[in-house]
């Protein structure tokens, strides 16, 4: 059992998680991204001088594609954005998160009460999902294209990552608290104290942080479908990393136990 065995497995399951997250995002999420861009274009169309008559096409293979950010022409086509671009993003995030979860699991191994290697790894991935994906999703839910003003991207980015940092800090503090309480009063009280501390802390933080509402009259059903698809993409990433890493650590756990048993035997002789 060494850092390498965790890191290699984390990176590999992260790669798989990224590929599966792409499949989910492409199948479940992309239709709503396309719909949002159609709405954005049809809203912007009357204001723009029509250069090529009245053919406001919705085709995906247009070279200079619909959802630009008002920059120079020759950007990335929609077709590239929804395939290779999306794949690159999910795989990059999957591998990075997989590596991080691998190393945090290596640090957590044997340090979370009497949890097995697999148990502590699942706790790390579960806490990671709640702290870095679910809570930010609840407070600052993701928006499809056409929602959100370009002028507020700075403050919205700062708020999002500020909340993310506070959430990770709170989760870490909650785990330390849970360990301390569990050492004196048992595992159930420990888990209860940790979960309660995190929930109360994040209720305070999210109540105090400003809300962001730039929806305008964007259709609610498309918005809801997009946000659910986004949550499903994040859940896929974290579930595959957590379950995959726990599964792949089976051999490491057996070897660690056998080694411990041998030491035990040697010490008793």
């Amino acid at each position: 059992m060494n850092p390498r065995s965790f890191l290699v497995r984390g990176l590999l399951v992260g790669l798989v998680a990224g590929l599966l997250a792409f499949a989910v995002a492409f199948v479940v999420g992309e239709p709503h991204v396309e719909r949002a861009i159609e709405l954005e274009e049809s809203a912007a169309a009357p204001a723009e001088p029509a250069s090529d008559g009245h053919s406001h096409s919705h085709s995906d293979d247009e070279a200079t594609a619909g959802h630009s950010h008002g920059d120079e022409a020759g950007g990335t086509s929609r077709e590239t954005q929804r395939t290779w671009g999306l794949l690159t993003a999910t795989v990059a995030v999957g591998v990075a998160l997989g590596g991080l979860v691998g190393l945090v699991s290596a640090a957590a191994a044997g340090r979370l009460g009497r949890l097995s290697l697999r148990g502590s790894t699942l706790v790390v991935a579960g806490a990671g999902f709640v702290a870095t994906a679910l809570v930010p999703w609840l407070k600052y839910p993701p928006n499809p294209p056409a929602v959100g003003s370009g002028e507020t991207i700075g403050s919205r980015t700062a708020l999002y990552f500020g909340l993310l940092a506070l959430s990770v800090l709170a989760a870490w503090a909650a785990v330390l608290l849970a360990r301390r309480v569990a050492a004196g009063r048992g595992a159930f009280d420990g888990v209860l104290a940790g979960v309660a501390a995190y929930v109360v802390a994040m209720m305070l933080v999210t109540a105090l942080m400003p809300a962001v509402d730039e929806l305008g009259d964007f259709p609610a059903s498309t918005l809801w479908a997009f946000r659910l698809a986004s949550l499903l993409t994040l859940a896929t990433t974290w579930a595959v990393i957590g379950l995959g890493l726990a599964w792949s650590l089976g051999r490491v756990q057996r070897e660690a136990q056998e080694q411990a048993a041998r030491r035990e035997l040697a010490a008793s002789l």
Binding site: V93, A109, Y160, L234, R263
Partner: protein
């Protein structure tokens, strides 16, 4: 990553109790955690935030390329 709690005597000693999971000394984890932590943050920065609020390098090529992933992975986007 976690550094302050190396002292749980029962589990910190490898194989101290039968059936217990041994732990890795944090000192051995530190260089891996530092390097991979920095590399992972860099990757996450480019996918999540670059050329939105901050631009390194200037332009929108990275933003455009990972655009759909940025939206669907829940990051704030334009």
């Amino acid at each position: 990553m976690s550094s302050s709690h190396a002292a749980t005597p029962a589990t910190a000693l490898p194989g101290a109790l039968p059936g217990e999971v041994p732990s890795i000394p944090l000192r051995r984890l530190a260089p891996w955690a530092l390097f991979l932590g920095l590399a992972a943050l860099l990757v996450l920065f480019f996918v999540s935030a670059d050329q939105g609020a901050v631009s390194i390098p200037a332009g929108t090529a990275i933003h455009e390329f990972v655009h759909d992933g940025r939206h669907l992975l829940g990051f704030p986007c334009h």
